[in-house]
């Protein structure tokens, strides 16, 4: 009973202890507990006293058995940890201290257990471990090493990563001088030496991108950073990091190189290259585009649209083209288009517009590539002109070949036929007639040959130099030479050409042309009136026009237009018509790059218009 009373008394004192405390007897049964104990371990108040501590706390407590037994034998206290998961699911850590429980007579009657909650400490510790691990991981992945320099003992300590970066073994012991010597001579070493000096002297921190030569002689890029450490205002040393950024720098260099390469290619392509955004604003242009639009720098074009450089109509055409590409997502490829600048310069482009699509499949702009093909177009046109001229000449040549072959064939056919007659003909009178015919055929052939010769000589002599000739004087000379012929036919020549008129001609051709047309005017005169020939001239843009008008028979141009200047074509039933004069005249005019036309009314007369080319 006494015992029990005591127990009750003590019980009150113990209950109020500020720490979680339990008294257990040698049978490890709880005798007294503080309220805190019950609260901390979330026990039921009524169900605690008399219970074995092992039953109450399970396996967690079993680990304490040895320590508890030691206390019972009086070997002094010890402590160890106990953890459990509370009702809110948190893991809670306690440090249990065991001390022997003595009675008044120094007899051990049990063990006192005091529990201090150490959950916070345990968590902090774990956190620290985690941080250390993370730091190690990070430094390995990011290749960041650290170092410390102790100024007082002049000792430099490197982390294992720092050693690794320098390419030195784990047992390498650096000092400040050897550390600095790893930096590449020149800029890098000077910079780091200065930085360390300034940090020590002036307390300035640093972070520099530098080159370092490893123990293996490999050149690497690092970011070296450091700062001074002070304690109570006194410099203790330096701490810092070193990061190997060689891969980064290399890829940076590579990217810059490929960017440069791309830029160089784009700039030097003999093409106009640009990128436009959805509003047709230029967001990239190359040098050719700048030069084409007459600006010195790309910045003068960026953000601007075609409306800033072309008149509204032209710009609208471009904008509609852009929109069609952006909306349909279909590129325009190699389209020939005309570009007219406000100053009137016309350029022919072979242009392509290609939509640029984002990852969402929508267009965010377009890439434009245009090639200036104006020169090609010009050459094409020149070539076409040349082909036209050539085919015209070829046609003339074929025509001439037909004329030649026709004329020669008709004569040889006559020879052949007449000779056949001659072989079989017995009658002397008839033979004489055939021979007369043969002579005629021979004369005709000779004349034809002479005519053809004349025509050929015009073509082959077309290289003759043109000279400025006074037209009035030339007409005077021709009429003088023809004066007997003109007088015979009572023909009158009226020269209205201004005295100073000069034409660029081959003089012999001019003589021939004038002679031929004047002679024709008389030959084909109207028998009812004396021939009057009026000659006048006027200056046109590229030509000097000479008009020779007569009052002769006239020519039915409806019928004869095609044949007028043909070879061996005659229109008048006139024995003097040979059908060669106008053919030669036309050839001579064309050899001087001029042209000839005729106006005529039957019964009234004809006007021959001769255009002397003053440009070519």
């Amino acid at each position: 009973m006494v015992k029990e009373t005591r127990t009750t008394t003590n019980n009150y004192l113990i209950k109020q202890l500020p720490k979680a405390t339990a008294f257990i007897n040698p049978a490890f049964e709880l005798v007294y507990v503080s309220d805190r104990w019950i609260a901390d371990f979330e026990l039921e108040k009524s169900n605690v006293i008399g219970q074995s501590i092992f039953e109450l706390f399970g396996d967690g407590a079993t680990e304490h058995l040895k320590s508890l037994e030691a206390c019972l034998t009086g070997e002094g206290g010890s402590s160890s940890n106990y953890s459990f998961t509370d009702s809110e699911g948190r893991e809670r850590w306690f440090e249990w201290s065991h001390i022997p429980w003595y009675d008044d007579h120094e007899n051990i009657i049990g063990v006192i257990i005091q529990a201090d909650e150490i959950t916070r400490q345990v968590q902090d510790h774990e956190q620290l471990e985690k941080l250390e691990m993370l730091l190690n991981q990070k430094s390995t992945i990011a290749k960041i090493g650290s170092w410390e320099y102790d100024v007082i003992n002049q000792r430099l300590r490197w982390s294992s990563m720092t050693r690794q970066i320098h390419g030195v073994p784990k047992d390498f012991e650096p000092d400040l001088d050897t550390a600095l010597e790893f930096y590449k001579e020149g800029f890098s070493r000077n910079t780091i030496s200065m930085a360390v000096f300034k940090a020590l002297e002036e307390g300035i921190t640093w972070s520099e991108k530098l080159q370092l030569i490893t123990a293996q002689g490999k050149e690497i890029w690092v970011i070296a950073a450091g700062k001074p450490l002070y304690k109570d205002g006194i410099l203790q040393g330096l701490i810092g990091t070193i990061q190997d950024i060689t891969d980064h720098v290399r890829s940076e260099i590579k990217i810059r190189e490929s960017e440069n390469l791309l830029r160089t290619v784009v700039d030097n392509l003999p093409l106009n290259v640009y990128i436009k955004d959805l509003e047709s604003r230029k967001i990239l242009v190359n040098r050719w585009e700048c030069e084409f639009l007459g600006v010195k720098d790309a910045s003068d074009l960026l953000g601007k649209t075609d409306f800033d450089f072309y008149d509204k109509k032209m710009a609208q055409v471009f904008r509609e083209e852009d929109l069609s590409v952006l909306n349909s997502l279909t590129p325009i490829l190699g389209k020939e288009s005309l570009n007219v600048k406000p100053d009137g310069t016309i350029t022919t482009f072979l242009s392509s517009k290609i939509p640029l699509m984002g990852t969402d499949g929508k267009a965010f702009g377009l890439l434009g590539i245009s090639m200036d093909i104006s020169n090609l177009k010009k050459q094409e046109a020149e070539l076409r002109d040349l082909i036209n001229v050539t085919s015209l000449q070829n046609k003339k040549l074929v025509n001439f070949a037909h004329i030649v072959s026709h004329n020669l064939r008709s004569h040889t056919a006559n020879f052949s036929m007449l000779l056949e007659f001659l072989v079989t003909e017995k009658d002397a009178a008839e033979r004489k007639k055939i021979i007369e015919m043969l002579t005629m055929a021979s004369d005709n052939l000779l004349e034809t040959m002479e005519n053809l010769n004349e025509v050929v000589s015009i073509s082959t002599n077309s290289g003759q130099k043109k000279k400025a000739v006074n037209l009035t004087e030339a007409i005077g000379a021709v009429t003088h030479n023809l004066s007997a012929f003109l007088n015979t036919h009572k023909a009158k020549v009226i020269n209205q050409v201004a005295a100073a008129t000069r034409v660029n001609v081959i003089p012999a051709y001019l003589d021939n042309i004038l002679t031929n047309i004047i002679t024709n005017a008389v030959k084909f005169r109207d028998p009812s009136r004396p021939p009057v020939i009026t000659i006048s001239a006027e200056k046109l843009e590229h030509y000097t026009l000479l008009k020779i008008t007569d009052n002769g028979l006239g020519i039915d141009l409806e019928k004869h237009k095609d044949k007028l200047f043909g070879m061996y074509k005659t229109f008048h039933d006139n024995p003097e018509a040979r059908g060669i004069g106008l053919y030669i005249t036309k050839n001579q005019i064309e050899a001087m790059e001029g042209k000839i036309s005729v106006d005529s009314t039957v019964g009234k007369g004809s006007t021959f218009n001769i255009y002397f080319n003053e440009k070519a």
Binding site: S405, N407, R409, L418, K559, K563, A577
Partner: protein, 134 residues
């Protein structure tokens, strides 16, 4: 064989006329041979003949290259004449211009007259063949 009434030679070359005439004479196949120096004279002559009720020649020898009116222009006017009978027209030329051959093909389709294209020189042995009336 019945003798033909009339053959016309239309050519500006006196030698060709002489030759054809000589060959026709030797064959003795027609009563009259008329000659014209160009297409204009020929078409005028033929029109006059029709007007006088003499009819038209059964056979024509026609040159192409002639002054005033050439063979093709003549043909254009001749086939426009309201003739019921078919006339044999021998186009005689030394031309080798393909355009002339094309013209011949063209006119053949446009008329009921019989059109032949003969290159000079004409031989006596050919003449009999091309002087049967169409």
């Amino acid at each position: 064989m019945k003798k033909l009434k009339e053959i016309s030679i239309i050519d500006d070359d006196p030698i060709t006329i002489f030759g054809i005439k000589k060959m026709l004479d030797s064959l003795d196949i027609c009563n009259t041979i008329t000659t014209y120096h160009n297409g204009k004279l020929a078409i005028d002559g033929i029109r006059k003949g029709i007007a006088a009720g003499k009819g038209v020649p059964e056979i024509l020898f026609l040159d192409i290259n002639m002054p005033i009116m050439d063979g093709w222009q003549f043909l254009e006017e001749f086939i426009a004449l309201p003739l019921e009978q078919a006339v044999r027209i021998n186009i005689v030329t030394s031309s080798i211009d393909p355009a002339d051959l094309q013209n011949w093909e063209f006119y053949k389709t446009k008329t009921h007259h019989h059109l032949d294209f003969i290159n000079k020189p004409i031989r006596l042995k050919d003449i009999a063949e091309i002087t049967t009336a169409a």
